[in-house]
């Protein structure tokens, strides 16, 4: 296992800082930033970038959840009702990725995300 050099360490520190802000500011894990950053800036293979990101952002999300929980913003009941089924759902989705996720479906999902963004903007 290679030890990160000084340049690598600086990049990892930077990635961590930005990912932490993104996670706590937006309520997301941070992987959308960490995975590409690890592949592009540190040359990690995609599998390793994904796995390493998952471990790192578990700590990030956990800390964010704890802080928000102490501040009273977390609805624990809803978190469990959403989060436990979601964990199951993710496994199914990942398994079906090969069979179902083609270009058309992915474009449709992208359009769906744009629609959701629009719905949020209308409310804002």
């Amino acid at each position: 296992m290679s030890v990160p050099g000084a340049g690598e360490t600086r990049r990892l520190v930077g990635i961590g800082l930005v990912a932490g802000v993104l996670s706590a500011l937006m309520g997301v894990g941070g992987g959308i930033l960490v995975v590409p950053a690890l592949t592009v800036l540190l040359g990690f293979p995609i599998k390793v970038a994904t796995g390493t990101s998952l471990v790192a952002i578990t700590a990030t999300a956990l800390t964010g959840a704890a802080v928000y929980g102490l501040l009273g913003y977390v609805d624990v009941g809803s978190a469990l009702l959403l989060g436990l089924p979601a964990a199951v759902g993710v496994l199914f989705g990942a398994q079906l990725q090969q069979r179902l996720s083609g270009d058309t479906v992915q474009l449709a999902f992208a359009a769906f995300l744009v629609a959701v963004a629009g719905a949020l903007l209308v409310r804002a």
Partner: protein
């Protein structure tokens, strides 16, 4: 009871889509809570962080089992992220609700754009594009790589 079923179904759907398209659970759970369950943006974001923990934790353990984790990099990113979390929490609790909603909408657009870009990349240079993590090209063990959609 009906509400419980609705929320559960929403969770499954959000997780399923996240797993299938390689996006993180938060991206879908936050809007679901705001638009379908009437949460405020901040409450939804906070609850989302708690909700994604089971999926993240299970995924992280699984990836360690597969040997896909570089411990020092993970620790460095993870520990440094905590400082970021501090700043992010201060920002999120200080900014107006509508600013958070606009920012989140922008995040959704960024994710949507990334998906479009991946499709475009696959059509032009399928093999090269798959290596950076910016492509969602299915690879033989995609489910092993990304069982919980680690992004975002």
């Amino acid at each position: 009871m009906r509400v419980v079923l609705e929320i559960t179904a929403t969770g499954v759907a959000a997780g399923f889509l996240a797993g299938m398209f390689g996006v993180g659970g938060g991206i879908l759970m936050v809007p679901a809570m705001v638009l379908l369950l009437g949460f405020s943006q901040l409450d939804a974001q906070a609850t989302s962080l708690a909700a994604m923990l089971p999926a993240l934790g299970a995924g992280a353990l699984r990836q360690r089992h597969f040997g896909n984790v570089r411990p020092r990099a993970a620790v460095t990113v993870g520990v440094c992220s905590l400082a970021g979390v501090g700043l992010g929490t201060v920002l999120a609790t200080s900014l107006p609700e509508r600013v958070l909603q606009v920012l989140f909408s922008v995040l959704l657009l960024v994710v949507a754009f990334r998906l479009l870009w991946e499709v475009r990349g696959r059509r032009r240079a399928p093999l090269a594009h798959a290596a950076t993590g910016l492509s969602h090209t299915p690879v033989p063990d995609a489910a092993a790589i990304d069982p919980v959609g680690s992004r975002p």
